[in-house]
């Protein structure tokens, strides 16, 4: 076969969908960053007129993690990858997922797509530069300013029915509030502990709500180590992890809940790019620069009236006020 023929045969003629690629040798294993990456991919697809996306994930055992996560190495990177997979399925535009461990194949697939002129997030040149903007909202804000809408994330593919079953069985007739209380102190990697939330204040808040609104159920999301044992005995709190469910089910429940409340962390990114009403608490002031808002702003440029940011450290009283105002607004609206 001549060289030209060889090149021509190499071009992946899949020009009907956008490509998103992740190389974990420079992209962190983090829920919020993965969801922001996915949202960027959806925006790129919409910008280029596609209604489908394809993902190419590269986890190379020889370079399993970025310099920001030195605790992730060849012996444990698969645990982090396993934990992240469901988040990557949160795009309703998903057509295919490729998980590749060999760099040659990954680069060849990228080259093939590039030759075919496929639109991608990030740009193909991110790969040689080993750089990606995985946290800023710049592209989303620009897209929203131009088009007046943002393509939203949704329950991870394949988990929708399980979540419906769970709600019908455990939370039937309830006003469902999904909650995430950031507790990084309980993790192996103690990153940005100042963003953690006081769990005792949240517990007091749940107890108050149990007295006042028995029809409200709180679904606690997050790692098994993150909740305290006494929370388990509060009747209005459900913890899906104690029913054998993982991140996929938790995300599906978040997308199906009536309200999300929680710290500015991975799960809040899912709420941010959804239609679910939310209150993101304890918003990190220094993060404002990356999301292109000012400290104290009540919402992102693309958020709705029922989706707000709160900049204070949580107390039971403050959570109470926030919830009551939002609950009244949603109930009044419905």
């Amino acid at each position: 076969m001549s060289l030209i023929k060889k090149y021509r045969a190499f071009i992946d003629d899949s020009g009907d969908r956008a490509l998103g690629f992740i190389d974990f040798s420079y992209m962190p294993y983090a829920l919020g960053d993965a969801l922001t990456w996915l949202e960027n991919l959806q925006v790129v697809a919409h910008e280029n007129g596609f209604d489908r996306v394809e993902q190419l994930i590269h986890a190379n055992p020889d370079r399993p993690s970025s310099r920001f996560q030195p605790h992730i190495d060849a012996s444990n990177y698969q645990i982090f990858l396993d934990n992240l997979y469901p988040a990557l399925l949160c795009s309703p535009m998903m057509e295919a997922v490729h998980v590749v461990s060999q760099p040659n194949t990954f680069n060849a697939m990228l080259a093939s797509k590039k030759l075919a002129g496929v639109s991608s997030w990030p740009s193909f040149w991110a790969q040689p530069r080993q750089e990606i903007d995985y946290f800023s909202h710049k592209r989303m804000n620009d897209f929203h300013a131009k088009h007046g809408y943002l393509p939203m994330l949704d329950a991870p593919r394949g988990y929708e029915h399980s979540a419906d079953d769970y709600i019908a069985r455990e939370l039937s007739g309830k006003f469902v509030v999904s909650v995430n209380i950031r507790q990084r102190i309980t993790h192996m990697n103690l990153a940005a502990l100042h963003r953690d939330s006081p769990i005792a204040e949240w517990r007091n808040f749940f107890e108050r709500m149990h007295q006042r609104h028995p029809n409200v159920a709180f679904v606690l999301l997050g790692g098994y180590m993150e909740w305290e044992r006494d929370i388990f005995s509060i009747p209005n709190v459900a913890i899906p992890r104690t029913h054998g469910f993982g991140l996929g089910m938790e995300l599906a429940l978040l997308f199906k809940s009536d309200l999300f409340m929680g710290s500015s962390s991975g799960f809040s990114a899912a709420a941010t790019f959804s239609k679910v009403p939310y209150i993101i608490t304890n918003y990190e002031h220094s993060a404002a620069a990356f999301t292109y808002i000012n400290v104290g702003d009540k919402r992102y440029p693309f958020s709705s009236e029922t989706q707000t940011l709160d900049w204070q450290q949580e107390t039971a009283d403050h959570l109470d006020d926030l919830f009551e105002a939002r609950y009244g607004m949603i109930k009044g609206g419905s």
Binding site: L3, K6, Y7, A9, F10, D12, D13, S14, R17, E54, S75, N76, Y77, Q78, I79, L81, D82, N83, Y85, P86, L89, M94, E95, A96, V97, H98, V99, V100, S101, Q102, N104, T105, N107, A108, M109, L110, A111, S112, K114, Q127, P128, R129, P156, R157, G158, Y159, H161, S162, R169, E170, G223, Y224, M225, R241, T242, H243, G244, G246, L247, G248
Partner: protein, 384 residues
């Protein structure tokens, strides 16, 4: 030199290091500045251009080398909606693909999973997670449309295999993968390839968990049959199975049950049904962690599911119960450590109890129970 002068020598040295601290700080600052300067130079246009040219040459090299598939991997196609038990059957198919790849001297296995139009009883996250457990599986592709699967194969599969793979994608009846329940040529370890491998931290966690029960106890991983005669088993039917297994286990000294893959809405009931048993789903164990337990516990009781696959492959004594036990035409295919009991039903708990004791006794005679447990087995036999 006396001790006193030695100590004062250390003190002096420590003090002089302390005096150097500001210098160390200055040095650290200089290193930072140096790093910034190097980064700035690296980001200049000519160097960026050089890098881009370099990577372009690299890409051309990949193309020239034949898309990285010049060593001709084995590509397996799995139609998920054609499988009765998608997770277990996918594992079986991966097993068989690895065995075949070794026999054909292929370097890797690429798995192509196709979701059909109908509902599929598998979570894609579980599929991705389970498919990473065999080292020879170097690529996993999940497609929600046949067209995108064919697009991929047309470019990346080896030329000689391409037409055959596309035919399997287009027509599930042609695929050799729809017969997942055929368990012949089963053992990965026996074919010389690496068996299921789990991240080290998970193995440590699993083994610690088993030790926490009681270092001297004998631990059985229990999974519950998913089907009844009328289709999917209900919670109440699974409760009955659990009650029967726990009842039989109660008469056996120092036997602890670890129930995997099952969480019931009425969690309190479970603990009444099987006192002292651990329910890993309630303990926040992931699928991979539960698989580690199946690999490292002393034996397995349950249907022929994905946990059974792991236990069988690890050479653990396995008591395969329920109609799923009949999937293998010949018990010998699994090895002598596995016995199938397709006819054991909920109607006869006494018979189940007898079979359990007999199974354990046979497993000990065949050498599958470690020497340290011999006295325990004698007690089991004594109580029988």
């Amino acid at each position: 030199m006396g001790l006193r002068s030695k100590i004062s020598g250390f003190k002096r040295a420590a003090l002089s290091v302390g005096r150097l601290r500001p210098l160390v700080k200055v040095y650290a600052q200089l290193r930072r500045v140096e790093h910034l300067i190097v980064q700035a130079i690296l980001r200049t246009f000519p160097l960026q251009l050089l890098r881009i040219v370099g990577i372009t040459i690299k890409y051309i090299w990949y193309i020239q080398a034949g898309r990285g598939n010049d060593r001709r991997p084995l590509v397996s196609v799995v139609h998920l909606d054609a499988l009765k038990r998608p997770l277990r059957d996918s594992l079986i198919i991966m097993h068989r693909s690895v065995v075949q790849a070794v026999a054909e001297k292929r370097p890797w296995v690429w798995m192509v999973f196709v979701f059909g139009e109908g509902e599929t009883r598998i979570l894609p996250g579980d599929l991705l997670s389970a498919s990473q457990r065999l080292d020879m599986v170097s690529q996993v592709h999940i497609f929600w449309s046949k067209k995108s699967a064919i697009d991929y194969v047309q470019v990346f599969a080896h030329e000689e295999d391409r037409a055959g793979i596309i035919e399997k994608i287009e027509n599930k009846d042609v695929s050799d993968i729809v017969t997942g329940s055929d368990l012949t040529a089963f053992s990965v370890s026996a074919c010389g390839s690496d068996s299921y491998r789990f991240p080290h931290q998970l193995v440590v966690k699993g083994r610690d968990f088993l030790k926490l029960f009681n270092p001297g106890s004998v631990i059985a991983v229990v999974s519950l049959p998913p089907f009844s005669s009328e289709g999917l088993a209900s919670y109440s039917e699974k409760h009955k199975w659990l009650e029967m297994i726990a009842g039989a286990a109660q008469g056996i000294p120092r036997l602890q049950l670890v129930v995997s893959g099952f969480a019931s809405p009425g969690n309190d009931d479970l603990h009444d049904l099987a006192r002292g048993a651990a329910f890993t789903s309630n303990l926040g164990f992931s699928l991979s962690e539960e698989m580690v337990l199946a690999k490292h516990a002393d034996f397995y009781i349950g249907p022929m599911d994905h946990f059974a696959m792991i236990a069988i492959d690890a050479g653990k004594p396995c008591m395969i119960i329920g109609e799923e036990g009949s999937v293998s035409a010949v018990d010998g295919d699994f090895g002598s450590h596995v016995r199938t009991f397709p006819d054991i039903g909920l109607e006869d708990p006494e018979s189940f109890s007898r079979e359990l004791r007999s199974f354990l006794s046979d497993a000990q005679k065949a050498g599958f129970i470690p020497v340290a447990r011999v006295d325990w087995i004698e007690k089991v036999n004594g109580n029988a």
